[in-house]
């Protein structure tokens, strides 16, 4: 198993005590595509980031098991973590406008990731960066390599991000809402690109999104999170058989062209969902 998560709990210290954001999540992931879906604040990003130990300093992380390829992430040294981050597991963030360093060229940022794990000369890294940019289907990779993030469009920025995270050939790619900040047409392109690269390299993919049908389309399995818990786990093809009322509610509130409705149904939340 690439990823094993058992009873993960994440809490933040607040003036009134500990606020639990993730409350007992269990997941496993092999070399497959797993989608995590849930609304804002359901704990999906925290779950993913805890795997690389990238949570802010005031977070308390507890778990019966939190492991990447058998390495206990909670007990690992900082050095061991650095050997996982980037090299074995990449992380793609939501908005390239914020997630790329504004004062470094795209090429330098990709080259830096390549060089951090593969070593070699600066020139070799720069050349590798241009090749990587070509692999994410950027038409003019040399020009983009010399550009700063503010000179790139959102879709282009996200391609740079993907190139950067794929540079050291990781086994797992975590994508934290990789398309939420992009236009609808670009979203599909980026997802197809990611799917293609992940399939071709035989990597695992953890795709976080709040778009259930989209995740169902791209992933093998889907975990639905609500209020810090996984409320339902399904094979992607079985979305229509979802049992949990929250999952059904999410599916029902998608407008459909084939059955236009005057009003979309409103999700009625049951406090019982919060109980384990």
């Amino acid at each position: 198993m690439l990823v094993e998560i058992k009873n993960l709990r994440i809490a933040f210290s607040t003036p009134t005590g500990w606020a639990e954001a993730v409350r007992g999540v269990s997941l496993t992931l092999g070399k497959e595509k797993l989608g995590i879906v849930g609304e804002s604040g359901s704990g999906k990003s925290l779950t993913a980031r805890s795997l690389l130990r990238l949570l802010p300093g005031n977070a308390r992380v507890q778990a019966d098991r939190l492991a990447f390829d058998g390495i206990d992430v909670l007990a690992a040294s900082e050095r061991q973590m650095r050997a996982i981050r980037g090299k074995r597991a990449g992380l793609i963030l939501q908005d390239p406008k914020y997630s790329l360093n504004p004062v470094m060229t795209a090429g330098d940022q990709v080259a830096e990731a390549w060089r951090a794990h593969k070593g070699g000369s600066k020139r070799a890294a720069a050349q590798a960066a241009v090749d990587l940019l070509a692999q994410v289907l950027i038409r003019d990779p040399a020009r983009v390599a010399g550009s700063y993030p503010h000179e790139l469009s959102g879709g282009m920025g996200q391609r740079v991000m993907i190139a950067m995270m794929l540079a050291p050939d990781p086994e797992l790619l975590i994508a934290d809402e990789p398309t939420s900040a992009l236009d609808a047409t670009v979203q599909a392109e980026i997802l197809r690109l990611m799917e293609d690269l992940v399939s071709r390299r035989g990597m695992g993919l953890l795709l976080i999104s709040h778009d259930l049908p989209l995740v169902g389309h791209f992933c093998d399995r889907v975990a639905v999170m609500y209020a810090g818990r996984v409320v339902e786990e399904l094979q992607a093809g079985e979305l229509t058989h979802a049992r949990h009322p929250y999952t059904r509610g999410l599916l029902n509130c998608m407008p459909r062209l084939s059955h236009p409705e005057a009003r979309l149904p409103v999700m009625v939340r049951d406090p019982a969902w919060l109980a384990p």
Partner: protein, 336 residues
């Protein structure tokens, strides 16, 4: 093309700012209730001497005419004569300003070399005891008046421990030994190969530079810490960590490089403030700098000297701002 237009606009603003500066300084000089004639001839001079001097100075002319004449003189580098020293003001400034420049630069080096790393360190260790110590030190450095700090430093390091020499820019035995070229004693001594005099100058400048530097360090460290705290929150820092980079690379290459523009503004303004001449520090350490010159002239109603020194201070602000404006373009690709 747009890049050059912005640059041209910045450069074009320089003469406009300078003109405004001259106009305002001139008007203040004429509006204050000080009679420059009395300052020259004294209050017991006979009436006809007073009247003749007034004519010689052109003070009977209308204000606009006086201003145009003043600007004309300035254009030829003529700031008029100082009453107090009876030298040309330009000569005086050429003597006093390098002393301030030397002290200000040394103090700025202390402030930046200590303040920036401390601020970065405090931000990285936010909330730890190290952070608390740095914050308290900075707060006290910021709130203790500099004359207290300076006198204490003299009391401890000169009077008690005798680690530092007494006030002054040069020991008496080296006085006038070094040939003046730049006016910067350290540079002149090094150029002349007078290493004894150089060592003496270093010893003399150490204590005032430390005192002035430490009190400015507090401000720079505080600002660095605040900027870094914000920068470290950035998503690009998460990206940098996720790439598996070392903590030092994440902090310096990614978080720190993003605060450079704002930090540069703080440093340049600090430097400009120091170049104004630190009156209190210069007085306590008998440092013959611009601050002392300006205060002395002011107390003697020596208006030519006051106007000249003020213009020089204003000019350093303009030049430093221009420099930092040009540096922004180098440091931040978004400004280019």
């Amino acid at each position: 093309m747009r890049r050059y237009r912005a640059l041209a606009a910045t450069l074009a603003s320089v003469p406009i700012t300078l003109f405004g500066l001259i106009l305002i300084t001139f008007l203040i000089g004429r509006v204050v209730p000080i009679d420059p004639v009395l300052a020259i001839v004294g209050d017991r001079a006979p009436q006809d001497v007073v009247a003749r001097t007034r004519l010689e100075l052109g003070l009977d002319r209308p204000l606009p005419e006086q201003f145009i004449r003043y600007v004309g003189q300035l254009a030829q580098g003529d700031f008029g004569r100082s009453v107090m020293t009876s030298n040309r003001v330009s000569t005086d400034i050429a003597r006093f300003f390098p002393a301030t420049l030397e002290l200000a630069t040394a103090a700025l080096l202390v402030a930046v070399l200590l303040g920036v790393p401390l601020g970065v360190y405090a931000a990285v260790r936010q909330g730890s005891w190290v952070d608390t110590v740095i914050r308290v030190v900075c707060l006290s450095g910021y709130s203790v008046p500099i004359f207290v700090l300076a006198l204490l430093a003299l009391l401890v390091f000169y009077a008690t421990l005798q680690w530092a020499p007494g006030p002054g820019r040069q020991s008496v035995m080296f006085d006038g030994m070094v040939e003046q070229r730049t006016g910067l004693l350290l540079v002149d001594a090094a150029l002349a190969g007078e290493w004894e005099a150089f060592r003496d100058a270093v010893k003399q400048i150490t204590l005032p530079a430390l005192v002035l530097g430490l009190s400015n360090m507090a401000y720079i460290a505080r600002m660095t810490r605040a900027f870094m705290l914000e920068s470290l929150q950035g998503e690009f820092v998460v990206t940098a960590k996720a790439k598996g980079l070392s903590a030092a690379t994440v902090i310096w290459r990614h978080a720190f490089s993003n605060i450079l523009v704002r930090l540069l503004t703080v440093i340049v303004l600090t430097y400009a403030g120091l170049l104004e001449g630190a009156v209190l520090t210069e007085t306590i350490f008998s440092w013959p700098g611009l601050g002392q010159y300006l205060t002395g002239s002011l107390l003697n109603a020596d208006m030519n000297a006051v106007l000249g020194a003020t213009l020089v201070v204003g000019l350093t602000y303009v030049v430093l701002n221009l420099l930092s404006d040009l540096m922004y373009r180098v440091l931040d690709p978004r400004v280019r």
